[in-house]
Amino acid sequence: MTSADDLSTILSSGMRLTAPLAFAACGEYLAHRAGAINISVEGMMLGAAFGSVAAASVTGSATTGLVAGALVGLLIAMIHGNLVHRAHINTFVVGLVLNALVLGLTTFLIAINTFASHQVSKIEIPLLSDLPLIGEALFTGRWPMYLLLLFIPLTWWLVERSRWGLELRAVGEDPIAADLTGIEVNKRRRQALMWCGLLAGLGGAYLAVGEVGSFNQNMTDGRGYIVIAAVIFGGWRLGRTILGCILFGLADAMRLALPAMGLTLDSNLLIATPYLLAILVMLMFASSKREPRSLGQPFQRTI
């Protein structure tokens, strides 16, 4: 293998590892902008991965699996939203418990079920896919990967240009003022979480019925937390958040590819990279003006 081939392989595997992160990151990013930080994004992805495989197996259609996965994500997000932004239970408590529940439940269910393998089809864009280095990475892939071309701009548009996004941002920055303006703070946050659930679900489903074709126990393996790290790394800007996802996806790809190439870059270090970078970024830009000011703060009117 030439080194150009190696690079091309790493890039294309990096893209495939980035896609699930990028879907979920769009969702988590939007939730953060509304002030609704949620670690249950991990559970949403894992639940969706399982749901997609199960649904694909039952219906025989990977595409149906993808949709089912998104819906599982949505369901978990709605549970989270109601417990946190209606019943006012601490978001981290709810996240911890939901993640534990989803992990336990999916591990249990996969142990007693066997699902037929279904995978969405691959597409190859003629000519472009033959480009050196990036051809394989960008222009061949499972088709849902290209949904990112829809969802990234859509998320951006929703947050920055839509009335809904305007209100979300108001809620994320200053819930008291938003409330005074007549915006229903907790409702907006629940809605933001629903978007987060749909996209995290899509990310998890993509991982399962898109790339792997089956479900393994704890197959997301902390990817939800990496997504949160990516949003923090991105300084609450969508572009940089996606960039973070690509960076983390590539690090993961290198971890997988390097041993085969006989290179020794420590795999533990590579896995730790996203977390280290996120912490580094928080240390460097701690007083980031971009951080939604009410991030993680519950809103409750007294009486």
Binding site: R161, S162, L166, E173, A177, T181, I183
Partner: protein, 535 residues
Amino acid sequence: MKSSALVPEVAQQVAGIAQAVPAPALELRGISKAYGKVVASDNVDLTINPGEIHGLLGENGAGKSTLMKILLGLEKPDSGIIRRQGADVRIANPQDARKHGIDMVHQHFSLIGPMAVWENVILGDTGAVNRSAACEQVENVAMRYGLPIDPLARVDALSAGERQRVELIKCLRREPEFLVLDEPTSVLTQEESEELFDVLRRMVQSENRAVILISHKLAEITAATDSITVLRKGRVVFHQLTSKTTHQELARQMVGRDVSLLADAAAVGVLPVAGTSDADAEPRRDFSGLPPALGLRELTVVQDGATLLDRFSLDVAPGEIVGLYGVEGNGQSVLGDVLSGLVMPTSGSVAVGGDVVALERADALTRAGIGIVPEDRHRSGVILALSVAENLAMKSLGSVSGKFLLSHRAMRENAQRLMAEYSITAPSPDAPVGRLSGGNQQRLVLARELSNEPRVLVVAQPTQGLDIGAIEDMYGRIRAVASQGIGVLLISTELEEIMTLASRVAVISSGILSGVLAAEDVTAERLGMMVGGAS
């Protein structure tokens, strides 16, 4: 436009003759509203004519805000009607009010700092967001009224005056017929205030709108309005064209005639409020010659660019009760926070008995001998979920514990002693404070603070939310404290409270000490002038 200055009766006569003069644009008739036993609005009549700036003057609790809340549909009146162009209207919420052309400029809270001006302006609308249209609209309104602003600027980056402009634009672009401004200049500089009033004047004159301006600042209300209504204790006590009244008269009307009576009574030691006066019972000890119990020097607090307390200096002698009077929101709260150790002053010093306190130490103020009954006792005074005994021992854990372990017995004994001494009624020393009535909670705070044997006691709004019996009890206790030689700083927005207790009255206005008077020198006029920031 002078026509606006027509008194209602004349306007009605004219209306009979010519169609050109409409009925009063907005009338409030017989508006009453009570919160429990507190009457906030008592049969209020108010007439607002187009083309006028109508000043609404009054102290805290005079009922200005309640009245405006009713007008905006935030509160429902117990009785009374609102008429617009002669027809009855029902205003159940701010949306209704908006439909009838009534809008209000909010002062704080309603702008979102990290968002752009144009985004703030359209927040609360519905429908698609159109950035260029919104910016254009902002610029149009800005141009029309002379309120220059960059629609793309982040609100965070704007000065207080510019934020005010944004608030105004946000309101004006809805083309309200009636615009309510509640203390609009509290955060503005002199220059910015003048600009604001110029804009209002232009708007009223050229577009025949009406403005209701709520203020306690005499200078600005006389300079900016066409007619003035003074409210006191929920009632309209005075109404006059601005040109026909004076600062002195307004000050008198705002504060009330009984002030001089109170002052006289205080001077001869016959106080109209029940509660024994220890000053008479035993000969007053002489504390003169001692350093002041509390000495505040040039205290300045700047937060987020706003100067909340501006070179504030005041002495309280041992055994003296000094009342700090002013309209709410003029720096009293932050002064209380400084004296509670919750806010570090930007500059200046606090001295107790002549010794400067090292404020950066967490418990320095308590150790130095400052006891405080805070304004909002649920915020910093008590912890509702903790027991009576725990709350009573909170600031002196050393006295109820060894080096490490708490002595629950000592805590309970301490509690029982203080509960008896201060008549705190509670199911038991172990009951959570949340189960106590307001009066008992307040006595608990007082008991705790006094049990640390302070040299000075700061009491902020000590009777807020208490019933009559509890109020009288509190007054008696505050007097008893002073007679023991403890200096008392009484921060209050209730003039009667101050006049009942204090021998000297200091007045705070916009974070500045606007003057100190001996109780017997207090007249409604002088006090009103100082409260209004005019001296």
